[in-house]
């Protein structure tokens, strides 16, 4: 089954066309990386799929349903907005955040039951942060905060995980582990993942498919081909130097010799 199917999508925000004529077809259980420069429309695309932004034309289907229908049910997506969009000083503990992920399932005028508590703890354990459950969110490191937020997104047992720049605030060493973790979640829960990122250097090693977005898609498909020079020029403009993440960084070696 198709998890996400987009035809002819165009989105205008405040009179400016942000996305133009996008087509996308993503099978259930796949891991898609949407890469491109800042301001290229990655967040807008994610929000349009989530139903938070209305497209000016085109069609979006999520497991065959329109985003409006999906939004009402509140159970399809686990969503991680950009880190900067969540107040850092909010008085909330790790366990409270993860329980929030259950709210869509619990429903209005109902209270968390034993099962909800069990699920919240289960996903804390999956993310390896069960020892931090009573720690205030503001006291966590960037990486721990992201793990908490992913536990929250997973706690609602969504079919699709939507991540907007999830690697922000995690140090470079931690990022590889982080993508590894996502890959593990994908396999374990057979969940579809859509991740927006500008980290084009590392992502191709972890995702199943890649879509290069700057106003419109410049490349879609196998992650390996995305590193092609013409695609990168289309995406980021000319004069882009790519640093390949191999054991020996050729670019660094070259710079050292100069």
């Amino acid at each position: 089954m198709k998890a996400v199917e987009i035809k002819n999508l165009t989105v205008r925000l405040n009179g400016r066309e942000v996305l133009n004529n996008l087509f996308l077809s993503l099978d259930e259980g796949r891991f898609l990386g949407v890469v491109g420069p800042n301001g290229g429309g990655k967040t807008t695309l994610l929000k349009a799929i989530l139903g938070l932004i209305k497209p000016s034309s085109g069609d979006i289907r999520v497991f065959g349903k329109s985003p409006e229908e999906v939004l009402k049910s509140g159970r399809m997506f686990g969503y991680l907005p950009q880190v900067s969009k969540v107040a850092q000083d909010f008085p909330i503990r790790v366990i409270d955040i993860v329980m929030m992920g259950r709210y869509g399932r619990i429903g209005m005028l109902r209270w968390p039951k034993e099962e909800d508590r069990r699920k919240a703890l289960e996903y804390l354990t999956v993310m390896g942060i069960e020892d931090l459950k009573y720690v205030p969110f503001s006291e966590l490191s960037g990486g721990q905060q992201q793990r908490t937020s992913i536990a929250r997104a997973l706690a609602g047992e969504p079919k699709i995980l939507m991540l907007d720049e999830p690697n922000t605030g995690i140090d470079v060493i931690g990022q590889g582990d982080f993508y590894h973790l996502l890959k593990g979640l994908q396999k374990r829960f057979n969940i579809t993942i859509l991740m927006a990122s500008h980290d084009i250097g590392t992502i191709p090693a972890y995702v199943d498919e890649i879509a290069c977005l700057n106003y419109t898609f410049h490349y879609q498909g196998d992650p390996v081909g995305a590193l092609d020079e013409t695609v990168l020029n289309d995406l980021f403009g000319k004069d882009v130097d790519l640093l390949h993440h191999t054991d020996i960084c050729e670019k660094c070696e070259r710079l050292r010799r100069v």
Binding site: G74, D89, Y103, G104, M108
Partner: protein, 266 residues
């Protein structure tokens, strides 16, 4: 102490003071977390226009003020959501024009100006039995609504987009909260007055936030600070024969500053 509590008007004042403090204590938590202090100040000043409409038409000013403040709160929200005017500008406009409307209406109905002082600066000692009942009903409705929809209000406060994706009707929750805010402002107005009411909606929550690790703790602390400020402020006002509205707000400020000092020391 015993002498203070034996007088009937002080008993009534203390009872209403505690009821209103519980309302403002719980509402204050969300005013602070949602960063709505300025909209609170705007709505409370708009209450002046609402009270004046009551004087002018002969309807109970508390009722006209509740309706007027709720309409103003929704007006500010709609104007700023349309995106043409920023929220702070639209608050500034509603706030000033409501005060102007109030001044015009009051000047047209000169005979009632004596009561005006009570609305502007509070008159907790002149509370009537009817007002005690009104504040009890409002307390049950306001606190009841917040507790019933605590999950939804909390999540919407945390992050609106995550709340929407979880199927929460964010706009309805926000509208409900604005109306709750307007009602709380009008009901607190009797205690400390239009000019000072926003203090009761900011200080308890801001104090609680200094130490809060989770929501329930923050609500309990905020209500505690509000009740303590009102009770202590009333006793101080009685002992030293000063205006209760001022002494309540200054007591709250002193508690906040002490909390801030303790927090910094740690």
């Amino acid at each position: 102490m015993v002498e203070i509590l034996s007088s009937a008007f002080m008993q009534k004042a203390l009872l209403v003071g505690i009821i209103v403090s519980l309302i403002s204590g719980i509402v204050s938590v969300f005013v602070v977390l949602r960063k709505m202090s300025f909209i609170g100040a705007g709505i409370s000043h708009a209450a002046f226009g609402g009270v004046a409409i009551g004087f002018f038409t002969g309807i109970n000013p508390v009722i006209t003020a509740i309706v007027y403040c709720a309409a103003t709160a929704l007006g500010i929200e709609i104007v700023s959501r349309k995106g043409k005017v920023s929220e702070d500008a639209s608050i500034g406009i509603f706030f000033a024009s409501s005060m102007a409307l109030g001044i015009v209406l009051i000047s047209l109905s000169k005979e009632y100006t004596v009561d005006l002082y009570g609305y502007l600066f509070g008159n907790i000692l002149a509370i009537t039995a009817g007002e005690v009942q009104i504040s009890m009903v409002v307390a049950v409705v306001v606190i009841g609504l917040i507790l019933l929809f605590l999950k939804e209000i909390y999540m919407t406060t945390y992050n609106e987009e995550i709340a929407r994706v979880s199927g929460i009707p964010v706009r309805a929750v926000n509208t409900m909260f604005l109306i709750i805010l307007a009602v709380s402002i009008v009901i607190s107005m009797k205690i400390v007055g239009i000019v000072l009411v926003s203090a009761l909606l900011v200080i308890p929550g801001a104090t609680a936030k200094l130490f809060a690790k989770n929501l329930h703790f923050m609500i309990a602390t905020s209500c505690g600070v509000a009740v303590l400020s009102t009770a202590a402020g009333l006793f101080i006002s009685y002992e030293f024969d000063i205006a209760p509205g001022g002494s309540i707000v200054l007591t709250a400020t002193a508690i906040f500053l002490t909390a801030l000092f303790l927090k910094r020391k740690r």
